[in-house]
């Protein structure tokens, strides 16, 4: 029996036997968060840690120059008061004055210069794409800095509002990366009290967070984050009242938990895109995948609606674009849609000379159910797909070793609301590009570097049209994140998969 089902069953038994209702511990005003089932936060310094939990932690402890409103998607001044493009590759910021880091160190231009110059020149930083557009950062005045980009980089504002926190230069210089990880110091709404790496982190409200930034002062005074790598344990703790919130649930568990007294569950749509990738460039030597008719046949053969309705459920939606429509530049109208049409799929296969079907290896790291459903759909049109379901690391190894003619995976775009964070990753002529369409690469080059929003949109639209028309990449559906929380907690989920723990309060 599947372990998830098992705990569901056990939890149901426990509920049936009349367990006490989970109680929010309002008395000590402490929010108990569990994460870790979706990956432990090894390192609080997320430039080096590169985990999703690290992004959540970062939002609590640090600030960015700009903050994107998660509801309206507007860019709001945060550590920066204003910003202007001085020229195509120079972005100038006037910084907010009077802000102090948790250790008392004053925030000024030196911190911005130090942080961004350091991370953009260090090859140990994991998400290079987040920082490698920076050429250098210079101090103009105490509260004025300039970021010079290597080339035109219009996404800079989005990136700077993403996972790019500003660190205190003097503190970082004295304690180094290890010291920062052990005792993070930021300007954010929560101060770190203690850190047991990979185990437990205790935070307390930053009472000085009154400088009028777009992030609110923390409503709940204390936060305890516990790394609970086992999802079943998280569920048990949630029911028992040992934790107040988790963002690691599966759809099944969220549905089961929703009826539990004292516990609420919510499933929210995310920017994550699940997709089927084709080796259209022939890197694996699988001839059928290089044939447009075959790729289109596969697109018509998969009943995406049924997968969304029956397996993904919740807030997931069928996607036609190779990006999430909520990302800038992801022009839905440009995409060619493939309806579910088995006869058309069979006819396309027959035209391509594969009337009797063919065999193909499908590499997947997505949940097994979705992969099985796709295999069933492909079998209905005569394609015998052999499932190689692997952990992420092994899957990626096989993909980069050109062993995967067909692959099922997903991409979260680092929570960035810009089409460049997905389309340009997979179609820029690099190793991750399994289409190698020079025109698409050229158009993306223009879209990625143009400072005129309309030009960007137009060129992303051209790329989307070609990518979908050529069926280089079949978007399946958007992802969902499932949350479980104490019913007494005023919880809100956001599309960028980042819970703003400082916003939550007790009802």
């Amino acid at each position: 029996m599947d372990r998830f089902k098992l705990i569901g069953l056990l939890a149901a038994l426990a509920m049936a036997s009349g367990i006490q209702q989970a109680q929010a511990d309002k008395s000590d005003d402490t929010l108990r968060i569990a994460w870790g089932a979706d990956g432990v936060m090894h390192n609080a310094d997320n430039y080096y840690g590169a985990t999703r939990a690290g992004i959540w932690f970062s939002k609590m402890v640090w600030d960015t120059l700009i903050e994107r409103d998660p509801t309206t998607s507007e860019y709001r001044p945060n550590l920066a008061k204003t910003w202007t493009w001085v020229d195509d590759t120079t972005l100038e910021f006037e910084l907010r004055q009077g802000i102090k880091f948790h250790n008392g160190e004053a925030f000024d231009a030196d911190d911005v210069v130090y942080t961004y110059n350091k991370v953009s020149s260090d090859s140990g930083v994991k998400f290079q794409r987040i920082v490698n557009w920076i050429d250098k950062v210079e101090k103009v005045e105490r509260y004025r800095v300039r970021i010079h980009t290597k080339e035109k980089f219009p996404q800079a504002i989005e990136f700077l509002s993403g996972p790019m926190p500003v660190y205190p230069n003097e503190y970082y210089e004295s304690v180094g990366a290890e010291g920062m990880s052990k005792m993070p110091i930021g300007t954010g709404p929560y101060k770190v009290v203690s850190m047991k790496p990979g185990e437990e982190y205790r935070l307390v409200r930053n009472e000085d967070y009154t400088w009028g930034g777009p992030k609110s002062m923390a409503k709940i005074k204390n936060v305890v984050v516990r790394e609970l790598p086992d999802l079943q344990t998280q569920v048990a703790e949630l029911i028992a009242g040992g934790i107040d919130v988790t963002a690691d649930l599966t759809t099944d568990l969220a549905e089961k938990l929703d009826g539990t007294p004292g516990v609420s569950a919510e499933q929210a749509g995310t920017l994550r895109v699940f997709y089927l990738g084709f080796d259209a460039a022939g890197r694996t030597g699988h001839k059928a995948m290089t044939d447009l008719r075959v790729r289109r046949a596969i697109a018509h053969a998969i009943n995406r609606r049924s997968i969304v309705d029956n397996l993904m459920r919740g807030a997931a939606r069928v996607l036609d674009t190779p990006c999430h429509p909520q990302q800038f530049g992801c022009v839905e109208s440009a995409a060619m849609a493939y309806d579910y049409d088995v006869e058309k799929a069979k006819s396309l296969l027959a035209d391509a000379g594969y009337g009797d079907g063919f065999e193909v290896d499908l590499y997947a790291e997505a949940p097994a159910q979705e992969a099985e459903a796709i295999i069933g759909d492909l079998a209905a049109v005569g394609i015998k797909a052999k499932l190689n379901r692997l952990p992420w690391e092994a899957y990626r190894d096989a993909q980069l070793a050109n062993k995967a003619p067909l692959f099922l995976t997903n991409w979260g775009s680092y929570s960035l609301a810009d089409a460049a964070a997905i389309i340009s990753v997979f179609f820029s002529g690099n190793e991750d590009d399994f289409a190698r369409d020079r025109e698409v690469t050229e158009w993306l080059g223009i879209a990625d570097t143009s400072t005129a929003p309309e030009t960007r949109k137009a060129f992303y639209a051209k790329a989307i049209e070609r990518i979908t028309e050529q069926a280089y990449f079949l978007s399946l559906f958007s992802g969902i994140r499932s949350y479980g929380y104490d019913s007494n907690l005023a919880f809100v989920a956001y599309v960028d998969e980042i819970p703003r723990f400082y916003e939550y309060s007790w009802k």
């Binding site: 372990r3 098992l6 056990l10 939890a11 426990a14 036997s17 367990i19 006490q20 870790g36 990956g39 432990v40 090894h42 390192n43 310094d45 080096y48 840690g49 590169a50 985990t51 999703r52 090859s123 140990g124 994991k126 998400f127 290079q128 794409r129 290890e178 990880s181 052990k182 047991k196 790496p197 990979g198 185990e199 437990e200 516990r226 790394e227 609970l228 790598p229 086992d230 079943q232 344990t233 048990a236 703790e237 029911i239 028992a240 040992g242 952990p391 992420w392 690391e393 092994a394 990626r396 190894d397 980069l400 991409w411 979260g412 775009s413 680092y414 990753v425 690099n430 190793e431 991750d432």
Partner: protein, 305 residues
């Protein structure tokens, strides 16, 4: 005796060396460590850069020798993910696994020895049947399932014990039972079988003929013989508990080296994998040595032979 000791030490060191070579090779053969280190949302360029940054593009032998050079002076390097010294991480986490492993072995012995002895004294009695039932269930039941059942019963329904963490001794109760119960059947059946053999042996018959009390026969003569294989198996079980507590540590969120080792393996945190493997291997070597010495104390023939 000195030659014997030197030989034993030499073979222990050789074992550790071979294990480290084996672990290092396996970790690299299992796939490109740069992929796991770069993270879930890393592009191919990110992975290539990480490969160069950590020197994974160097020849394997060169990488191994570099690691060995550091390890010989007690520096196990730094974790690729935690950015911490591995020795520091082990110092924090090893005690948790040791407490769990030793208490689980203690629990297993506390259950298996008395039950095994009683079952041997009264074969086919009710108590023998019960102990057989316990042994079969213990062997057949997956540890994770047993752990979850305990969580539901003692953590959720009765609320007697904390579900996860390592804050107090109560946190270790369920993990100890979950881990210890798995080792109980082997020890119990071994004690029972050994005891039955011993009770039917000539020296016990002689002891009875001499008019010795039942207690004296059981504990001074029979049990002493039974303990020899039990001690050997306990040593192996203790090693298995130290290295095999991954599932228990994960479910109860005990941050010991079992779960750390598993996580490090999945994420190709090679310095951590290497260090943990060596530590566990060293424990095995040490425990086997201790078991030999203890058996030598229990059985003069081993000492002399």
């Amino acid at each position: 005796m000195l030659t014997f000791t030197i030989k034993r030490l030499f073979s222990a060191l050789l074992t550790l060396l071979l294990i480290s070579i084996f672990t290092f090779s396996l970790a690299h053969l299992a796939g490109d460590p740069a992929i796991a280190i770069a993270g879930r949302e890393a592009s191919a360029e990110d992975i290539a850069r990480i490969r160069a940054h950590y020197g994974f593009d160097r020849p394997l032998v060169q990488q191994y020798l570099a690691w060995c050079g550091q390890a010989l002076v007690g520096d196990f390097g730094r974790s690729y993910h935690y950015q911490q010294a591995v020795s520091e991480m082990l110092a924090t986490r090893l005690p948790i696994t040791l407490i769990l492993g030793i208490s689980a072995l203690g629990f297993a012995l506390a259950i298996s020895l008395p039950l095994g002895i009683v079952a041997a004294i009264r074969p086919n009695s009710l108590i023998d049947r019960i102990s057989l039932g316990l042994a079969v269930v213990g062997q057949a039941m997956p540890t994770f399932w047993f752990a979850l059942v305990m969580i539901v019963v003692f953590g959720l329904t009765l609320r007697w014990l904390p579900i996860s963490g390592n804050a107090s001794w109560q946190n270790f109760v369920m993990p100890t039972i979950a881990l210890g119960y798995f080792a109980t059947p082997a020890l119990m059946r071994l004690t029972r079988a050994g005891m039955i053999d011993a009770l039917e042996s000539d020296f016990v018959r002689t002891a009875r003929a001499k008019g010795l009390s039942q207690t004296s026969i059981l504990f001074k003569h029979a049990l002493r013989n039974v303990m020899i294989p039990v001690v050997s198996v306990s040593a192996v079980q203790c090693g298995a508990m130290l290295s095999g507590s991954i599932v228990v540590e994960q479910i109860f969120a005990l941050q010991g080296i079992g779960w750390l080792g598993y996580d490090a393996t999945v994420r190709s945190d090679l310095p951590v994998v290497q260090a943990i493997t060596l530590v566990i291997a060293a424990f095995y070597v040490l425990l086997t040595l201790l078991a030999d010495l203890l058996n030598a104390v229990l059985d003069p023939r081993i000492r002399i032979g």
